[in-house]
């Protein structure tokens, strides 16, 4: 299965490229754009990124495998992330993590069969003063209780 960037995304990559003196530096932005378009980063996607930027494939691979926000397998339409680091833990982060796992019947980094939900136990998200928190895709939900979490999860259709 081959992967090609859309015209619009090629323009975005070009813009990112202008920010830096080297093409390699635009790789992080480009991987984000690819993940947005394809959902995850496969070998084909990495090859295309390398091609578009004119860099070695290994450079793309090394970045994709280092940073935790790049996914090499397809995550759910709603990627639910629960912080369990100290500040959240002190205010019930683990209870919410258990609640989220039980709700979907999934374990860390698993995706539901219908591809709708995936769950991840994440490290500190920088919301310590608004703990506990969960993030659904890019959105933060803070100052949570079990009831509020239930409400948020139910609203994901």
């Amino acid at each position: 299965m081959s992967f090609k960037f859309t015209e619009e995304n090629l323009k975005r990559i070009e813009q990112s490229r202008k920010k830096y003196p080297t093409a390699l530096a635009a790789v992080m932005d480009t991987v984000y754009i690819a993940q947005e378009q394809n959902g995850y980063i496969s070998t084909e996607v990495m090859a295309e990124i390398a091609d578009v930027l004119g860099i070695d494939k290994v450079n793309v691979l090394s970045v994709v495998t280092f940073y935790t926000m790049y996914h090499t397998k397809l995550m759910g339409k709603y990627h639910v992330q629960v912080c369990t680091n100290v500040s959240c833990m002190l205010r019930g982060g683990y209870e919410i993590w258990e609640q989220v796992k039980n709700k979907f019947g999934l374990d860390n980094m698993q995706t539901s069969a219908d591809g709708k939900f995936s769950v991840e136990e994440v490290e500190c998200m920088g919301a310590c003063g608004f703990a506990p928190m969960i993030a659904v895709n890019e959105d933060f939900y803070e100052n949570l209780t079990k009831e509020k979490v239930e409400e948020i999860l139910d609203s994901l259709k």
């Binding site: 090394s62 100290v86 920088g126």
Partner: protein
């Protein structure tokens, strides 16, 4: 108490409101001064970095070479990945233009033509907010080539936002530079320091978001004014993020040198249920924790905290009440550093794993008091033996938590151990603590 970084002005994130409140006046003033003069004023103001090391900002700027044929760079560290720290996002959200103004003044002072604002990937919303603010600054002529016209000077600088992708280590300055260059976030060996060889081998200065946001008021109101605020050796206001077991967690901007107890009880509203405090980590999870009975009289500035046996770090205060299980806390902290170790240096890569495994063994009820010594031993062998400070950051909580709360940790372990384990541990350590009773 005056607020410098997050003033109480509504809608300050709107450029018109910012302009109506002396916005970019400091830049106008600065561009009439010589670069040496600006660096000197920042030095005299006593401004110290807010990212953890509390290093003198003016001094850091003065390390930038004056004559070089290479381009120079400014890097603004907004990675904010230290657990317990959540202050910079307030600046991105509520006062982005003061940050931008600080950036153009800093660029002018050190002669940088390009600045990168590195924001952690998880902060999608704040990346967008900052991106928008930068675009507005470009439109209005406060960044990019239009600056020449706006300020009537022969200088301009570009500002770009770089989005991270979820790596704690990228808050470390040299790994952040690798990350901007499109590499894995591996810290670099220092020296050479960034001012000699930074981004793409060129002279680079890296400052924290909060540090740079302090610069415009210093230029506008003068270094004398700033140097008189708060603690003399660490002047200014500091953003403290208070989290954990308090009634009103959040970010509070107060003068440096404010009492820790005042922050916890007056600002954050004390501990829920009037419980006693067992433990406070005063500067983000990698700083040495303080016992509840050590808090009296501790002031929140770099020097005072050092005397109290901890460090200011990023000002992320984590409060734990008397019912907290410190083994759980320490295990969680160690799990974090194991997860976030970049894997470059053996002591950290292997050591953080052993710290977590040993703590897990204790958690599973199979720990012995020798494990506590073993943990301290492993921590001592990580500390100081790695390229960057993540090693120390992983070692300190373990070392100080166990030493300062030894009585509590003794409760979680069995004092009787089997002979093979005793022999093995005994052979690896030089502890003066007597061996525990050996099981027959």
């Amino acid at each position: 108490m005056e607020r410098i970084v997050l003033p109480e002005i509504e809608n300050l994130h709107d450029i018109n409101v910012y302009l109506a409140n002396n916005g970019f006046e400091a830049a106008r003033k600065a561009f009439k001064l010589s670069t040496d003069d600006i660096i000197d004023q920042v030095k005299k103001s006593g401004l110290r970095g807010r990212g953890g090391a509390a290093f003198s900002t003016g001094l850091k700027w003065s390390f930038m070479p004056k004559t070089t044929d290479k381009p120079k760079y400014l890097c603004i560290n907004g990675d904010e990945s230290e657990p317990g720290s959540f202050k910079d996002r307030q600046i991105f959200e509520y006062n982005p233009f003061q940050l931008i103004e600080g950036i153009i003044i800093a660029c002018y002072a050190i002669g940088a033509k390009t600045a990168y604002i590195y924001i952690r990937g998880e902060y999608h919303r704040w990346v967008k907010l900052m991106q928008k603010a930068v675009e507005t600054a470009y439109e209005k002529g406060f960044a990019g080539e239009k600056m020449k016209e706006t300020f009537g000077i022969d200088f301009f600088c570009d500002i770009h936002v770089h989005k991270g992708a979820g790596a704690y280590i990228c808050g470390e300055e040299s790994s952040q530079m690798n990350s901007i260059e499109g590499l894995r976030g591996y810290p670099r060996v220092k020296p050479p320091f960034p001012a000699q060889r930074g981004l793409w081998g060129c002279p680079t200065t890296i400052n924290n978001v909060e540090t740079i946001t302090n610069v415009p008021p210093i230029i506008l109101k003068g270094w004398e004014w700033f140097s008189k605020i708060g603690a003399q050796r660490h002047p200014g206001t500091i953003l403290f993020g208070i989290s954990g077991h308090v009634n009103r967690p959040g970010v509070y901007e107060v003068n440096s040198g404010t009492l820790l107890t005042e922050l916890i009880y007056d600002y954050a509203g004390g501990v829920p249920g009037q419980k006693k405090i067992k433990c406070v980590i005063p500067g983000g999870s990698s700083m040495p924790p303080l016992r509840g009975d050590q808090l009296e009289g501790v002031r929140m500035d770099a020097e005072s905290l050092k005397e109290a046996g901890s460090a200011i770090g990023t000002g992320g205060i984590m409060v734990m009440d008397e019912d907290t299980n410190l083994l759980d806390v320490l295990l969680r902290i160690s799990k974090f550093y194991h997860h976030e170790s970049c894997g470059q240096c053996t002591p950290c890569r292997e050591g953080t794993g052993w710290l977590e495994k040993t703590l897990k063994r204790i958690k599973n009820g199979q720990g012995t008091s020798q494990d506590l010594d073993l943990l301290i031993d492993v921590a001592n062998n990580i500390e100081g033996n790695t390229i960057c400070a993540l090693g120390d950051a992983a070692a300190w909580p373990v070392k100080f938590m166990i030493t300062r709360f030894r009585d509590e940790f003794e409760k979680y372990v069995n004092n009787e151990v089997s002979l093979p384990v005793a022999n093995k541990v005994h052979s690896m350590r030089n502890s003066e603590v007597p061996l525990a009773a050996v099981k027959k």
